[in-house]
Point group: C2
């Protein structure tokens, strides 16, 4: 056995523990009865502890060092070099974090998520506040340990998006805001040209589920390697490249919620389903960053699912699925309705134009909370104020405000900016795919997804973590991440929708 193989065999145990952890998380969010929460946090804590101990143990460190020394053996194999690079980065970060902190974070976040779900259901911020307090303290402790000397927020960001910093995000987000706000304002003057009333009719949950499954099937979701379930907050997770699970949520009076939830999570799922099987259980398995991951979900949700071409093929099926609600609605009205731009409270249901304003709000609030400029107690008020400033509306409840997202309760701070990176990249990847395969638009009209799917599989999915996010974007699109395709996409699509 080569030194690298010996190291990989050791790391496979850590990988399997991480996957077991993911199963327990999935179960907690989908099926676990409330009584199971306390024990679940201990189970997750124990798994996280053993995984961390395994990764940072002297034995594993020695195996990695030996594999690095033998690097010459596989100088020609860039995948093996990449494995060592990714493993070293992970090892160095992990070794700086005390095991007991890992356990405290895991257990607290598991209970925090449970508390959040209850607090959200009852619109009771006070119940969640002490957990948010604890989680912020833990994230600060973690940031100081994992990347000492680096700003707290950058240290957290780096876990989700290698090398990303607030200094890089600030100008990007500022430019995006400059482009977006006038577009929103222009649309507001003619907002009566589009109505989404037809989407708020009474849509039976069973029919929504059935239609979602039909669309997933049409797009190529492999049911023998995946599942669709319901959860408070939609998500995608996987326990192997052959067991990839998505969730959505159903609201009777907001049909797009479940439908675009399905398409969004399906985009994430396609990424994990298509990673080179040779990378399974190695440091190269899994998506490379959350921004790249989100580019895949947003591409399927928006560039495909909210396109006119897609509904040329599937609107008759939507009418058949919901005859009472859509039977007499012309396709054009449906298309406009699912693309209505309007300031709204809920991020995951926001239109494409205002969406990033929701992200920027969270990005600013996270920094304030972590840097002590904002207290947990004052956070709901700050949320409302920022909503007023950027979107001109104020949520009447915390359920529609600060309690709407699961992320903070599960320890996901520094996570939100990757959503906007994903939006930007979704347009850049889609533009590159269209340039390479010009028939993609015609294909969409006919419900053929294979050329687009294949371009994404070959240029993005299969590589797993073999390239850094920057390298991957450069290789797939021929240039670094750039705002132009996304801004161009938003301008041209929504000026058309609103006849501007």
């Amino acid at each position: 056995m080569s030194a690298l193989d010996a190291f990989l065999a050791r790391m496979a145990d850590a990988y399997h523990l991480g996957m077991a952890n993911a199963v327990l998380n999935w179960d907690q969010r989908t099926y676990m009865p409330h009584g199971g929460a306390e024990a679940r946090s201990r189970q997750l804590g124990t798994l996280a502890k053993l995984e961390h101990e395994l990764v940072v143990s002297t034995q594993t460190q020695d195996l990695l060092a030996a594999a690095e020394e033998a690097r010459g053996e596989h100088a020609e194999d860039s995948a093996q070099r990449a494995m060592l690079r990714v493993a070293r980065r992970g090892m160095d970060k992990a070794a700086r974090v005390p095991t007991d902190l890992v356990v405290r974070m895991t257990e607290t976040c598991a209970l925090g998520e449970e508390a959040w779900a209850g607090a959200r259901a009852d619109d009771d911020y006070a119940r969640f506040a002490p957990w948010l307090e604890k989680i912020i303290a833990l994230k600060k402790e973690y940031a100081a340990a994992v990347m000492p000397g680096v700003p707290i927020y950058d240290a957290l960001l780096d876990d989700y998006e290698e090398g990303m910093t607030a200094a890089a995000l600030d100008p990007l987000f500022a430019e995006l805001k400059r482009e977006t706000v006038p577009l929103v304002a222009a649309i507001q003057t003619v907002s009566d040209r589009v109505s989404d009333e037809l989407l708020t009719r009474d849509y039976d949950e069973g029919a929504q589920q059935e239609f979602g499954r039909k669309i997933l099937t049409a797009c190529g979701f492999p049911w023998d390697r995946g599942r669709l379930d319901a959860s408070v907050h939609p998500f995608c997770t996987n326990f192997s490249p052959n067991d990839v699970r998505i969730t959505t949520r159903y609201e009777r009076n907001w049909m797009p919620g479940s439908l675009f939830g399905c398409l969004h999570e399906m985009g994430h799922a396609f990424y994990e389903l298509n990673i080179d099987p040779a990378y399974e259980a190695t440091p190269l398995g899994g998506g490379v960053s959350l921004g790249i991951h989100e580019s895949q979900s947003r591409l399927w949700e928006n560039m495909v699912g909210r396109s006119g071409e897609f509904w040329e093929r599937y609107y008759p099926e939507a009418q058949a699925a919901f005859p009472r609600q859509l039977g007499s609605v012309p396709r054009d009205l449906f298309y406009k309705a699912i693309n209505k731009v309007s300031p709204s409270f809920i991020r995951v249901e926001a239109d494409e134009v205002t969406y990033n304003l929701h992200i920027i709000l969270r990005y600013e609030m996270e920094q304030d909370l972590l840097n002590g400029r904002l207290s947990v107690k004052d956070a709901p008020g700050a949320w409302r104020q920022k909503m007023r400033e950027s979107l001109g509306i104020e949520p009447p409840t915390n359920r529609e405000g600060i309690l709407q997202d699961v992320h903070w309760s599960g320890g996901g701070m520094g996570y939100f900016p990757t959503y906007t990176l994903g939006n930007i990249l979704s347009a850049q990847f889609f533009e590159a795919a269209l340039a390479a395969v010009p028939t993609i638009r015609t294909d969409l009209r006919a419900g053929r997804f294979s050329a687009l799917y294949e371009w994404l599989r070959v240029n993005v999915h299969q590589h797993g973590r073999r390239y850094t996010p920057d390298e991957l974007v450069q290789r797939a699109t021929g240039k670094p991440m750039t705002l132009a395709p996304y801004v161009g996409y938003l301008q041209s699509k929504f000026k058309r929708v609103y006849g501007l």
Copy 2:
């Protein structure tokens, strides 16, 4: 921290790993897509390896030895003495089993169970045979390691039923057969007095599920601490005393399958739900043996669920749930139908009288397979022959024969006899409960279960593993396990049903 506490803290990690393993098993049997099977076996193998390494490590052994030395400190506390006894027994057994064998058993059985589910669905014994071959070899290897010098079968039995041996089972089963066979024969002569046609009508799966939930709720199943799902083979599992999950299975043309499946697994669930919370994550947590566990499931399934008293209260609800099928059927016919005695192929759907003949068949076959007197290849034929001998019928397919049960595929050999021990004990416990609380029968007529539930909780459930199975039976019923109550119950009930 006392020496015992230090040991218990260490063992809690092993406990949480075991619970994580149980979550992964539950998921595999309920929701996992087929593609996940290969990775799942690795995940389970990794968890089993780490759990085993943790239990048998020098550190844990030293902690146990220190706790034993300090035993004097808690001489007065019999629960703590019992913890040490149970821990020592588990430790000594575990230490004799090599970790790699634990991993091979876990991984093979996870894949074996998946192969079995497919083979059963397709009635394809050849697909399952190589797995059965592997599993038998592993069980022999395990038996020789865990209890060297003891007959293979007794070594396997001891994992499920402490101290039980084939030498003790043989005369018990022989006597039970002597009592049962003439009763079956007597009933056969008047078999036309009972028809179960009414149970084979077309029962919608959704309605079955709803009625099952209603009955579970009526009996006191706590939905905030448990779930009901569907699986190929019904089972009960738990991930803490507050997260206890049962499954059943639905057949359109055999309504009692799902209903009595629910009541059976609910009996198991009540046991785990009621164990003293102080024992959670200690060696005393969990039911003490499979025989005792099965006594609880059979008591609720049969003494309660198949009693005339129970249906005095709930038959009108059954009629309301299934008006087309039962609306015009008098209660007495329904009661007789659910108690029809007739040789049949499927163990879990067998009547109370012939049920144990199914167990004795498996008991004999397991011994033959393990002792090399029967080959895997010849096993389906042996099954058919034994069915002919003991029940006078021969299954037309392996699906209705050797492929019907999940147990062997998951490594459960030596497990089946505990079902008959459970039957015997169910009658003994029920008799003791009736003697202590004579109103129980009247209660059942009114749908009141609390007195029975409470007697079981106090006398059986709460103790967990604090007493050995023998001690528990003696304490709860005032005598050792004895066949008389069970045989008396069968004779009197079924002579009445058939008017003999």
